[in-house]
């Protein structure tokens, strides 16, 4: 027989084996399917969220290459109109934008006011799309004419001629639907288009536009503009600008990315476990083939061919399941995004080539890799050794110290990379990945250690058998335990991170919300400011013992947004500040001299500390401010800075006030009663007690992390199913062994107990090992990744809840996995089992 004629025969042998052990094949398949599905689902949901954001942000960008804008998006329209009558001007278009709320709707909508006559070079479909629907005269002259995309109209449930009550910064305005645009280029769900005049009216900002879109094809055009650029305005390259200014909070996105990576890890482990087990359990067959003269490389090829078939089927099914799961997830993500940021479409799910490639790479690549390692080992081993289970276990055990050592080193390396190596979020994730890998390598040694400890406990014979089995079957159980451990640890890590953040935010809020009452104009969240009379008279209101005044302003610093808050801060407000750099009294005396207090994220991002200087754009050009202190702040990931209000007024000539913090000896409710007559005169004032703001803020926090929770549970569920199937496969493989035990006189009860004990012990062990790993992961997520991403430092708090939930889940999964094999081994007649093979 020529060597090359063997493979078909071998393949048949392999397939026959699979057919005779359908359970094993099916369970390995489940591992692959679950792994692929969860990764694909999370990936699709993430991509849908990002795509919906990108669509919303970029579809209106059109052909613009640059943008003339100011730090606060208030460009005097005369800048544009002057350029427009100058013969040398490049293609340009004025744009007025704003965030709208719509009565009765959640989320924000984007108002975009355009001059159709200037749009030709930028969004060439738009004029036709609008004008096909509405007479030009109406579009220009009707002060309420608006056009919606089809999806926006569907979301709002409105049709042509319907009216929509919108609010900009709390001020109401009525728009009417004059056109519904069917073209896909303006499909964004959150888009309300109007003529530029109407947009100015909605914003209540005559004389100002938000920015000027520019199409600059050469340096001469840029030079032309720069020569004529008034102070306070800048030309921004749009490609560089996209992300930082609009919408989707980076923390939310990081969240999704982290969950995607964890899903990938869990998926990889599941596949690895399922496949490597299916190879390991066939060492006997492989050994026999080798003994019959099959060459090592042929065995290797056989195993890989089989794995390939299994991988193909599993990946295909995984993709189907992943898309289905992804749709559900996408809806949840879209709902969260809609509530927190802007109207996102849940229908943006796209199975593109990249996502398919990822799924195939994971499913097939993971399967082949997982098969290759044990198969290579089996192929390289002398046939007789391969035939012996004991030899395998011996070898595995002999390798344990080396495995544990390299695992330990990886953990160390991971921690070093995460905390000591610069490289931002990426090195944080690399460190995290290494940590997990290291922990997985250590797991078999942990199993061994546990065996030794448990072995010393007094217990029945069955108990001893169960405990010893842990050690005897290390080759199979090791990977399963590692897979379960990684899945559980991921869940612990994320839960602990979220919990830490939640506590930190909650503590910070309670410190920061020191006043008894907060007063703001209605629509304050969207930028409305208080009536001048209210701001001026508030200090004389009855029962008010102290008052702080705030005015927010968005500035562009170092290419990103930040918020400047001009404030008079009363002494009790000041006590709510927690300085991470700079002494308390020095910080306040500096602040009173007109220096800046900057938030931790801003300081982190710009590498600032007390005593440094920060240049802010002002109407009279950039001004350097000294930094008096850095305070802990979770209010904004973009960064905030406080400036004494009189100093601010002197520079910005702006004496508006957005909100007030009132202190009283009477407490919040007493003060509210005392202020009743005042409030009745000013019905548009929003008065909130500190507790109300606290509750609302925490709700926002919880909403942001709701998707994290969902994803955490999903990956846990998948891990659960995967591990369940893996453990079940392990136990089913040992049917014969159990049959022997039965034949030797063990009762059914004893056999079931043995199996359940063994399984439960494994689960418990995985759960216990998952706890330190999970905590370490949370530590990296909190102190390395969050800090690097947002500049948030927070006390790292481990709450017991998730920890023990994890252990319980581990045991539960393992016990469940034991039930069927236990039942089967206990109740089936052992005789046929013994005759097998």
């Amino acid at each position: 027989m020529k060597p090359h004629s063997l493979p078909p025969l071998l393949l048949r042998a392999g397939l026959r084996y699979q057919r005779r052990h359908p359970w094993q094949a099916a369970l390995a398949l489940i591992g692959i399917v679950m792994g692929v599905a969860v990764v694909l689902a999370v990936y699709l949901a993430n991509e849908a969220a990002k795509a919906s954001f990108a669509l919303s942000a970029e579809q209106l960008r059109g052909a613009a290459t640059h943008r003339a804008t100011s730090a606060d998006d208030q460009v005097p329209e005369i800048v544009y109109t002057r350029w427009a009558v100058d013969p040398g001007h490049p293609p340009m278009a004025p744009v007025v934008t704003g965030q709208l709320r719509i009565d009765g709707q959640t989320g924000r909508y984007r108002l975009v006011g355009l001059d159709l006559f200037a749009e030709g070079p930028f969004r060439d479909e738009l004029p036709g799309a609008i004008n096909g629907e509405v007479a030009l005269g109406d579009w220009l002259a009707q002060p309420n004419a608006a056009a919606l995309s089809r999806s926006a109209a569907d979301t709002l449930g409105v049709g042509l001629g319907d009216r929509i009550q919108v609010r900009f910064e709390g001020s109401p305005y009525e728009l009417a639907v004059f056109a519904i645009i069917e073209t896909t280029s303006v499909a964004s769900r959150d888009l309300i288009l109007t003529d530029i005049a109407t947009a100015q009216a909605v914003r209540g900002s005559p004389g100002f536009i938000s920015h000027i879109d520019l199409k600059l094809t050469d340096d001469a055009a840029l030079a032309w503009l720069k020569e004529r650029l008034p102070p306070g305005l800048e030309i921004v390259d749009i490609a560089q600008q996209t992300r930082s200014t609009l919408g989707l909070s980076a923390s939310f996105e990081l969240n999704l990315t982290a969950m995607g990576l964890l899903a990938l890890l869990v998926g990889l482990f599941l596949i690895f476990n399922a496949i490597s087990f299916s190879v390991v359990q066939r060492r006997n067959l492989l050994g026999r083939l080798r003994a019959l003269g099959v060459r090592g490389d042929e065995v290797l090829r056989l195993v890989l061919a089989e794995a390939f078939v299994l991988g193909c089927i599993g990946t295909l099914l995984g993709i189907v399941l992943g898309v289905w799961l992804g749709q559900g997830l996408t809806r949840i993500v879209a709902a969260t995004v809609s509530q927190l940021y802007y109207q996102a479409a849940a229908d943006a799910l796209q199975l593109d080539a990249l996502s398919l490639f990822k799924a195939v790479a994971l499913g097939l690549g993971g399967t082949l890799l997982a098969a290759w390692l044990p198969a290579r080992e089996a192929a390289a081993t002398p046939p007789l050794t391969t035939l012996s289970r004991a030899k395998l276990e011996q070898r595995v055990q002999a390798r344990l110290p080396r495995l544990a050592l390299s695992g330990g080193l990886l953990i160390l390396l991971g921690l070093i990379i995460a905390f000591r190596v610069p490289g931002g979020v990426v090195s944080g994730f690399v460190g995290l990945f290494l940590l997990i890998l290291g922990a997985a390598l250590v797991t078999p040694s942990g199993l061994r250690l546990a065996h030794r400890l448990l072995d010393r406990l007094p217990g029945s014979g069955i108990w001893r058998m169960a405990v010893r089995d842990l050690d005897r079957h290390l080759s199979r159980l090791g990977t399963a335990a590692a897979a379960l451990m990684v899945a559980l640890a991921a869940s612990v890590g994320v839960a602990v991170m979220v919990e830490s953040m939640r506590l930190a935010v909650s503590d910070w809020l309670q410190d920061a919300l020191s006043a008894d009452l907060y007063v703001a104009a209605e629509g304050f969240q969207d930028g409305a400011s208080l009536p001048a009379t209210v701001a001026a008279q508030a200090a004389r209101w009855p029962q008010v013992s102290a008052i702080s005044r705030y005015r927010d302003r968005s500035l562009q610093v170092a290419g990103r947004r930040m918020t400047l808050i001009a404030a008079d801060l009363a002494p009790p407000t000041r006590t709510g500040f927690d300085f991470t750099s700079g002494a308390q009294n020095r910080a306040w005396s500096g602040f009173d001299r007109g220096e800046l207090l900057v938030s931790e994220p801003l300081a982190y991002r710009l590498g600032l500390s007390t005593g440094d200087r920060l240049s802010l754009p002002t109407p009279t050009g950039p001004i350097d401010f000294a930094i008096a202190g850095v305070f802990r702040d979770f209010a904004s990931e973009h960064g905030r800075a406080f400036l004494e209000r009189s100093k601010y007024q002197g520079i910005w000539s702006d004496d508006r006030v957005d909100s007030l913090a009132l202190f009283s000896d009477q407490g919040g409710q007493g003060l509210q009663r005392a202020l009743d007559p005042v409030l009745r005169d000013n019905p548009t004032l929003q008065v909130t007690e500190a507790d109300g703001i606290y509750q609302e803020s925490m709700q926002v926090f919880d909403r942001t992390f709701r998707i994290t929770e969902v994803l955490r549970w999903l990956s846990l569920l998948v891990a659960f199913i995967g591990v369940l199937s893996a453990l079940m496969a392990v136990q089913l493989e040992r049917r014969k062994e159990y049959a022997v035990l039965r034949a030797l006189g063990l009762t059914r009860q004893q056999v079931s107990t043995l199996i359940l004990l063994e399984s439960g012990a494994l689960g418990l062990l995985a759960g216990l090992l998952a706890i330190p790993l999970g905590i370490a992961m949370a530590w990296i997520l909190t102190d390395a990744i969050q800090l690097r991403a947002f500049g948030w430092s927070m006390p790292f708090v481990v709450s017991p809840g998730p920890l023990w939930l994890t252990s319980v889940l581990g045991v539960l999964a393992a016990l469940l996995a034991g039930i069927y094999p236990a039942w089967r081994s206990a109740w089936r007649d052992p005789a046929p089992m013994l005759r097998e093979d």
Binding site: A118, D124, D195
Partner: protein, 372 residues
């Protein structure tokens, strides 16, 4: 007379600024309605009675009427004999009558459309451009004291005291004009019945219309990197109306000729669906001393002698025999070169022509309603 905007139910293109390519392609279009054809909003004033023009007031805008234009054409040449024709037209289009709400400086009922063309006769190339803007926020508009009509960077500026000289400045991609138009010796000609030019039998189917038929012109034409110092003479038409054109008319052939003997001849032939000359076709013959007489359809014999066909099959009559027997005129009017088509939101042919036959001269010819 330039009712160009009117018959064609105009699809005004919001095209690419002044840089519109010859073929606007499938860019977005804005339907401006049949501004002068069809029925205008009854809120607009109509040209019904014989006007009493007052100047400089009537050089300025008449927003109570739906449409109006400042329409300049001319034949120019360099000292070395390189010849050019040019056209600069600013149209005011009232979308709705009355004043808009005043919630924003951008709010308006009025838009401006501009057409600019330079016919480089020396090299046989026609350059053209189109612009749009709303008449608000200083982007486009017309005002008096002194006369200033502008659309983005295109402008017509009058002398603060005497309106003349007029300063015309406009740019397309790779070409521009910068011209001074002097008053010259010829008087203003009030067309039709002392400025009321009837286009149909129904009262109100008319426009207010006056012309300056020979304005000595000099200035500069820019083609690519080359600047040409030019001089010659221009023709200025001013017209405003609300839905002046009867529905039965499909187009017209308009001649504005400046003869070397000092006379000018203007004649427009209104065509119906079958290409027949309509009764309200009319014109004017201005003598060298400025006296003028009205021409009726019956006074003029008009015959197309040669057609030029565009690549997509539109046939324009670009050579004519035009005779006014009782004025001793038997003219051969021939385009300076064939392709002087204006292919923008509105498609028509407008170009420089030469005159020979019984008399010599130059002029401008406008052919509308062929591209249907």
């Amino acid at each position: 007379m330039r009712l160009m905007l009117t018959l064609v139910s105009v699809l005004v293109l919001i095209a690419c600024e002044a840089t519109a390519p010859p073929d606007p392609g499938p860019v977005g279009t804005v339907r401006v309605d049949q501004r002068m054809g069809g029925t205008a909003d009854p809120g607009f004033a109509r040209a019904i009675t014989v006007p009493e023009f007052t100047f400089p007031r009537d050089h300025g805008p008449h927003p109570e009427y739906a449409t109006e234009w400042w329409y300049f054409t001319g034949n120019l040449h360099t000292s070395t004999g390189h010849r050019f024709g040019y056209q600069l037209t600013l149209f005011r289009i009232g979308l709705e009558p009355g004043m808009p709400v005043t919630d924003s400086a951008w709010r308006t009922h009025q838009i401006y459309m501009g057409h600019l063309a330079v016919s480089d006769i020396g090299s046989g190339r026609h350059h053209s451009a189109e612009r749009f803007a709303r008449a608000a926020a200083g982007l486009a508009g017309a005002e008096l004291g002194p006369l200033h009509v502008w659309l983005g960077p295109w402008s017509i500026r009058g002398d603060p005291v005497a309106t003349f000289p007029l300063h015309l400045s406009a740019q397309g991609e790779g070409f521009a004009i910068d011209l001074r138009l002097e008053r010259g010796a010829k008087p203003r000609i009030d067309q039709g019945e002392q400025g009321l030019a009837r286009k149909g039998a129904t009262p109100g189917k008319a426009s207010y219309y006056y012309s300056f038929t020979r304005l000595p012109t000099h200035g500069e034409i820019l083609i690519g990197e080359r600047r040409f110092a030019v001089s010659g003479s221009s023709w200025w038409d001013r017209e405003w109306a609300s839905s002046a054109m009867p529905a039965s008319q499909v187009g017209w052939d308009w001649f504005a000729l400046q003869l070397t003997d000092g006379r000018e001849l203007m004649f427009y032939r209104l065509r119906d669906q079958d290409g027949r000359t309509q009764a309200f076709s009319s014109g004017v013959l201005v003598s060298a001393d400025g006296a003028h007489r009205k021409l009726q359809a019956a006074d003029v014999r008009l015959e197309a002698t040669r057609h030029w066909q565009t690549d997509d099959g539109i046939r324009y009559p670009v050579a004519w025999r035009l005779a006014v027997p009782d004025a001793g005129l038997d003219l051969h009017v021939e385009t300076a070169f064939d392709d002087q088509e204006m292919h923008h939101s509105v498609r028509y042919w407008e170009g420089a022509v030469g005159v020979s036959g019984s008399h010599n001269g130059v002029g401008y010819l406008e052919l509308s309603g062929y591209a249907r």
